[in-house]
């Protein structure tokens, strides 16, 4: 904060004491001292590290990442077996982390928006129920929720053996979905020749839906004519794909899970630990997002609602055209930091044995190789990259919103 004074003060010659007393130079002194202390501190830590390593006859090396991991991982998004390297095992873990974080974020958003909006509902019971949900999940540690939900799942769902026999205790839903305490088994699509065309048609209809909606909006703004939105979109989405599907002789079929031996075979297994972690994180984070959404909606002044009502908009349109767009600007930054929290909380996967990167790199690899410093360092690096990426996205968004505002 440089202030301009009229007569230029007589230029003093530099004295050493000015480093302490003169505000022009004191900053440099402080910075120099801080830097020096920091360097000394780091050097001290480094020196201790070296001495400790020498004392214990160890070293820092990342060679172990190239050696066979020799453990199995139950959920693999890329091919992996026990002869692959620790590096690949870590990568399998990374993908698992990203998977559960992605699923969790999507579900948490849905839950959070629903609960946040319903909490403001005029229905007393629903509002109270949502308040109860938010409070109970916000005020109990997520680790306890993960454990509770995991054990609820294992206790409440039947074991695969319950599906066995002529008169089984449990049966599959529609003959296609099996809910067991080892996870949920769903049919797996099998892509045969011609399936690519069906997918292409589907994608094309997606584009068409968007085009239609844009056209309808434009028409609405230009002429005031309101085209129906719901059913034509649905029709555009489904009909061509179905036509293509049957015209090409049903190139996509489903492989149903089937109980063979100890487990259900075929189909896709969504593991119990994944589901437990996913739900626990989603419900927990959802409670926080609900609060953000509620705060966002309440931040839009009541005059906006009244003005929209005065224009003759119906309540649902007031919500979607007036309130939400304005609330969104307030809601999105905290929600993104909730996504960040969710991703970081997913490291608690270890409590339910979900093999995320903390479970593989920070867990079994660390245990088996004893390379604590290296493993923990890589682990932190990974989370740091994820966090910084999400922060960068958030900053981009904030800047974009700012520009629009002014």
């Amino acid at each position: 904060m440089a202030s301009v004074t009229d007569p230029e003060p007589p230029r003093e010659s530099f004295r050493l004491s000015m480093l302490l007393n003169d505000t022009r130079y004191r900053g440099y002194t402080f910075q120099f001292i801080a830097l020096l202390l920091l360097i000394l501190f780091m050097a001290y830590l480094g020196w201790n590290l070296v001495r400790n390593l020498v004392d214990q006859g160890q070293d820092i090396s990342f060679e172990f990442m190239g050696q066979p991991a020799s453990y199995d991982i139950n959920q693999r998004l890329i091919p992996y077996d026990s002869q692959d390297t620790h590096l690949r095992a870590a990568f399998v873990g990374v993908l698992n982390t990203l998977l559960v974080a992605f699923l969790g974020c999507v579900t948490a958003t849905v839950l959070g928006v629903l609960a946040g909006v319903l909490r403001l509902s005029k229905n007393w019971l629903v509002a109270k129920l949502m308040a109860f949900y938010v409070e109970i999940f916000r005020n109990v540690p997520v680790l306890i929720w993960i454990l509770i939900i995991f054990f609820v799942m294992t206790a409440a769902l039947p074991a695969p053996s319950a599906f066995r026999g002529d008169d089984p205790d449990s049966s599959m839903l529609f003959g296609a979905f099996a809910f067991t305490n080892r996870g949920v088994y769903v049919p797996r699509p099998i892509w045969e020749a011609g399936s690519a065309i069906v997918v292409a048609v589907f994608l094309a209809s997606l584009v068409a839906v968007f085009a239609y909606r844009r056209y309808a909006t434009k028409l609405l703004y230009d002429t005031g004519r309101l085209l129906p939105m719901g059913w034509p979109s649905l029709a555009i989405l489904i009909v061509p794909t179905l036509l293509a599907f049957f015209a090409l002789g049903q190139p996509i079929s489903l492989e149903y899970p089937e109980l063979r031996g100890f487990n259900f075979q075929d189909g896709i297994q969504v593991r119990g630990s994944l589901i437990a972690l996913w739900f626990a994180l989603a419900i927990y984070t959802g409670a926080f997002i609900a609060e953000n959404v509620r705060a966002g909606i309440m931040s839009v002044s009541h005059g906006q609602t009244e003005a929209a009502a005065a224009l003759g908009l119906r309540p649902r349109r007031i919500m979607s055209l007036v309130i939400l767009p304005q609330a969104l600007r307030v809601v999105i930054p905290p929600v993104i930091s909730q996504y960040l929290n969710l991703t970081k909380n997913s490291s608690l996967a270890i409590a339910v044995g979900y093999m995320d990167v903390t479970g593989t790199l920070g867990g079994i690899t660390l245990n088996q190789t004893g390379r604590a410093i290296e493993s923990v360092m890589l682990l932190m690096l990974f989370y740091l990259v994820i966090s910084l990426t999400i922060s960068a996205v958030m900053n981009l968004y904030n800047n974009a919103v700012k520009l629009k505002e002014r």
């Binding site: 199995d72 991982i73 044995g353 867990g363």
Partner: protein
């Protein structure tokens, strides 16, 4: 506001600069307490009871060493460690010895720079399955879901075994023994694998132990024993020979009942040497002559400790098997005290 609690803690309890490294023995004596790393909770081996007293087979080794060195079997600070934290705790000097059913392996000995001071339990990895599954051999487990405690060598053994036999399996890793048992009991996995001793201990806690079978295959060798840091051989000797004294005591018939009588002097030179009435073995270890008497008095000889914590009369009900004395067909074989 509360910042001073921290400083106070720093001043009083915090930086206990225990000189580990070279002279653990002097250090333990100066501190008056042995820091011993144990399991966070494994029935029969190490678990605190309702009164908060640690007890178990591994705990007894710590107590014997404390009795030998400090003269007081209760002068032990038990540090509960997970599979992940145990080695760092030992390497950093947080604990003086680790007695936490740890398997003696090449890499742990050589690469991680630890010294295994003997074996107090010969174990092997086995499987437990519900009887109704109708499985009688581990080779029939192709395609099964198998619960494992993560962070142990059992994971690697399991991977090796199934690979070797060309079988598929679905590992269900879980953090603690108790949680693994819960999953197993709910049918989330078809089999549970861990050290055979652990299986027996766990089966004892089931609602109907008879409904579960421990399969005959033992797929690994798991020699479990206490360990110390590399490079402090004097301390290593103390732990090693305390354990050996317990084992030898059983072989020579020294029990907690007759030890007072025997330590007056006997006709057996070896008993006399162990109990310090003859020779100066204690002095060589840097202890006093009565060291072994106190160690054995702490919980009895090896056989007594075994019987009290994990033997056939306990809920865990382990037979001696490989852990019998060599004179009875087992592997327990203490080198001579000479």
């Amino acid at each position: 506001m509360n910042r001073t609690v921290f400083l106070g803690a720093l001043a009083a309890a915090g930086v206990t600069a225990g000189v580990a490294g070279a002279a653990t023995l002097d250090d333990v004596k100066a501190r008056g307490v042995l820091n011993c790393g144990v399991n966070t909770g494994l029935v029969g081996f190490a678990a605190p009871n309702a009164e908060g007293e640690w007890e178990g087979f591994d705990v007894a080794v710590c107590r014997a060493v404390a009795a030998a060195v400090l003269g007081d079997p209760s002068a032990v600070e038990f540090v509960s460690l997970t599979g992940k934290t145990r080695f760092t705790a030992l390497a950093s000097g947080e604990i003086d010895m680790l007695s936490r059913n740890t398997t003696w392996t090449f890499t742990r000995d050589v690469d991680l720079k630890f010294e295994f001071t003997g074996i107090n339990y010969y174990d092997g990895q086995g499987f437990i399955v519900p009887r109704e599954l109708g499985v009688s051999s581990a080779t029939e487990l192709d395609g099964a879901s198998i619960c494992i405690q993560t962070g142990t060598t059992t994971e690697l053994n399991l991977a090796d075994y199934f690979r070797k036999n060309n079988m598929e399996y679905d590992p269900v890793p879980i953090e603690t023994n108790a949680e693994a048992l819960q999953l197993y009991n709910e049918g989330s996995c078809d089999a549970y694998t861990t050290d055979a001793s652990g299986l027996a201990a766990s089966r004892a806690t089931f609602e109907n132990p008879g409904d579960h079978v421990i399969l005959p295959e033992i797929i690994s060798k798991e020699p479990l024993g206490p360990l110390v840091r590399h490079g402090d051989n004097e301390w290593g000797d103390v732990v090693r020979w305390t354990l050996n004294a317990l084992i030898a005591a059983e072989e020579l018939g020294i029990t907690s009942a007759n030890i007072d009588e025997l330590s007056q002097g006997t006709n057996s030179p070896e008993i006399n040497r162990i109990l310090g009435t003859e020779g100066n073995l204690g002095e060589m270890l840097g202890l006093d002559p009565d060291w072994a008497v106190r160690a054995i008095k702490a919980g009895g000889n090896y056989g007594e400790i075994f019987a009290r914590h994990i033997g056939e009369s306990t809920p865990i009900g382990l037979a001696r098997g490989l852990n019998a004395q060599w004179t009875e067909g087992g592997l327990m074989y203490a080198p001579p005290f000479r």
